[in-house]
């Protein structure tokens, strides 16, 4: 699949935006100003980006508790996301949802989800709607390695297969569910071993390599769009921070993250590849870096300064009518 220069710039900007968003949250969280649980996606950017680069307004995604990357990928407003994480009235969800419930249905982002395995059934529904309404859309459930064991995921794989839905199930295998290794909790060696159980293609891909993800994603999306049914894709990747902010991560090997950052960082790999192949030059990418830094800086400033919701907001938005 050919990526135009514009595509490459877009992809890099998307990854960089996610990275910078998360790195900054990591810093800001430590100040104590951000409430609640925050799960960072840093390190996994190539996955969200590799898939979302193929998507348009017809398409839907459902995310997880670790949802910032998917949200940015699907086009959620970064300022509004940041404000949401700070619990502000100007937040994407008016401050009612927070990090774990960022959503923008208008953008086809069906929500981060506080329930592990909450997304796959919803994505069957989004796929069904696309099929019935003949929108040509596809629907993607992102799930973690831990979430993949959840019964809701298994049921959804079966249902998507039985109904031949235009769905993708993307396992972002970062090796851990909280402090538990996927080597312990997942009873198969590769998630692709579970694809045959549902008669769907199963593809494993290196999630540090944007191009690999992009290609696998493209094929599965093409198949889904053309009525070929669902696919399962395992993206092998790593998270740079703890399960949530505040996690001491004593379960990880010494220098584990340091080594990954040094050798497999998706942004570094991307730059090396596109610069090496002379598809983009460093200055263009540096400019994006600078833009993104400024954008995130601005988002944080605005979020901090923004007013909080007020008592009038407590009881609204429960029902359309009651």
């Amino acid at each position: 699949m050919q990526l135009s220069k514009a595509d490459l710039l877009k992809a890099y900007r998307m990854m960089k935006t996610i990275r910078e968003f998360e790195e900054r949250l990591h810093v800001e969280f430590a100040t104590g100003e951000i409430p609640g649980f925050v799960h960072l996606y840093a390190g996994e950017e190539a996955s969200a980006t590799g898939f979302c680069m193929h998507l348009d307004g017809r398409d839907k995604i459902a995310s997880t508790h670790r949802g910032h990357g998917h949200s940015i990928g699907k086009g959620c407003d970064v300022d509004a996301m940041m404000a949401e994480i700070y619990g502000k009235k100007s937040g994407l969800c008016g401050g009612k949802g927070g990090s774990m419930h960022i959503a923008d249905l208008d953008k086809g982002m069906l929500g981060a989800n506080g329930i592990v395995g909450g997304g796959p059934p919803l994505i069957c529904g989004a796929g069904l709607a696309a099929k019935v309404l003949k929108t040509g859309g596809v629907a993607i459930a992102f799930v973690g390695d831990g979430a993949f064991n959840q019964g809701t995921t298994a049921e959804s794989l079966n249902l998507a297969s039985v109904w031949r839905l235009p769905c993708l199930f993307v396992v972002e295998n970062n090796g851990y569910a909280e402090a538990t290794s996927s080597k312990y909790s997942v009873s198969c060696d590769d998630f692709t071993d579970r694809a045959a159980a549902y008669s769907m293609p199963g593809i494993a891909v290196d999630g540090h390599d944007f191009f690999a993800v992009y290609e696998a994603a493209g094929e599965a999306i093409k198949r889904a769009r053309s009525g070929g049914g669902p696919s399962l894709i395992e993206v092998k990747l790593n998270r740079y921070y703890g399960h949530f902010e505040g996690d001491a991560q004593t379960y990880r090997g010494v220098d584990e993250v340091k080594n990954i950052r040094a050798t497999k960082d998706c942004l570094v790999l991307f730059r090396r590849r596109v610069e090496g192949a002379k598809l983009l030059d460093a200055s263009e990418l540096n400019k994006i870096d600078a833009d993104v830094m400024a954008q995130i800086e601005n988002a944080v400033k605005k979020a901090k300064a923004a007013p909080k919701p007020t008592a009038a907001d407590l009881m609204t938005d429960v029902y359309v009518s009651y």
Binding site: C93, G111, A130, V132, L133, T135, S156, N158, D317
Partner: protein, 337 residues
């Protein structure tokens, strides 16, 4: 409106008319058509008790049989509702909520609030509840108090064929998630039902008997037990006002309170288990907001704090009935001061 049809037919008709009216309405559930993938008849069942029979013949693929995976297909209905469809999913027995509740109470019910008012989830979950079929502990529960407890859900409990049709059409056209509870014993009940589509608004109770002595607030199948009791009591000169809540969420507080302000006495009848149920809910409402009108203790007639038993003798003892309601009414009347 001379035409009489059953509660079950009324539900079927509501579905059929709404599917004709709006192509976004689809139906899904286990054997809602039946016969999928088999060598035999195509629409072999039309629902486990035949409630959706004929819809597959009329609407084809818009009536979808599902694997036995309630989380997946109820969740799919919820997801589809956020994406442009108006699904009616069937949870065969309300007792099965334990395998799919998350998609209902943490997803559908909370989207709008969590997403800052920017979600509409017009999904209807039709489900069968109640005792009386000798179906034992896992197929006879009420459980609507659980759904009533959850903000974001609407809970509908038709007691008659007329209400079943009007409330179901309302549910399908409603833009919030609705739990539509059908009492299995009522399916064969006949009543007057207009042929044309009509809606009954949520949150409007129906006063099925007027009376000045005692207010009986009830819902679902118990409406019939209560009217039977009221009829018997009328012969003894005790005039009961029987209020059918029709929906427990929203609940028509005004009608309840006005009635108790007139009668000064309240009996609440609820088939559900006694703890944290609709009976306690209505009692508490009145003990707060109509306290000064009360002339007697509020009595509740409910199922007991035991699972529903299988044996017919025990199940009959389990279910609230007219005699128990009459006893409760006499009790609150005896307290006259």
């Amino acid at each position: 409106m001379a035409r009489k049809i059953t509660y079950q037919q009324a539900i079927n008709e509501a579905l059929s008319q709404e599917m004709s009216r709006d192509p976004r309405v689809i139906i899904m559930g286990e054997d809602v058509a039946g016969g999928a993938g088999t060598d035999g008849e195509d629409e072999a069942w039309g629902g486990v008790l035949g409630v959706t029979k004929g819809l597959y013949k009329k609407f084809g693929d818009r009536v979808m049989d599902t694997p036995i995976t309630e989380s997946a297909f109820i969740g799919a209905a919820v997801g589809a509702a956020t994406a442009g469809l108006r699904p009616v999913a069937e949870l065969m027995f309300i007792d099965f909520m334990g395998v799919c509740l998350d998609q209902i109470f943490n997803q559908a019910a909370k989207f709008r609030y969590m997403f800052g008012g920017k979600a509409e989830t017009p999904v209807v979950i039709r489900t069968m509840y109640g005792a009386g079929f000798r179906a034992a502990a896992q197929h006879s529960q009420c459980l609507y108090p659980v759904f009533t407890h959850i903000p974001g859900l609407k809970v509908v409990m038709p007691a008659t064929p007329y209400d079943a049709k009007g409330l179901l059409i309302q549910a399908i056209r409603d833009n919030d998630p609705v739990i539509f509870c059908e009492h299995k014993v009522l399916y064969t009940l006949e009543g007057d039902v207009p042929e044309e589509p009509y809606t009954i608004p949520f949150g409007e109770a129906s006063v099925v008997r007027e009376g000045k002595d005692v207010t009986i607030v009830t819902l679902g199948r118990m409406v019939h037990m209560a009217t039977e009791a009221a009829d018997n009591l009328a012969k003894q000169g005790i005039k009961c006002e029987v209020i059918d809540l029709r929906t427990t969420s929203p609940m028509d507080e005004d009608t309840i309170l006005e009635s108790v302000e007139n009668t000064g006495r309240l009996v609440v009848v609820d088939e559900a288990h006694p703890r944290c149920n609709i009976a306690t809910d209505v009692s508490a409402l009145v003990a707060d907001k109509a306290f000064d009108s009360l002339k007697a203790p509020i009595k509740m007639v409910t199922g007991p704090h035991v699972p529903v038993p299988f044996s017919d003798v025990l199940e009959d003892l389990y279910i609230p009935n007219a005699a128990k309601i009459e006893a409760a009414v006499r009790l609150v009347m005896g307290k006259k001061n």
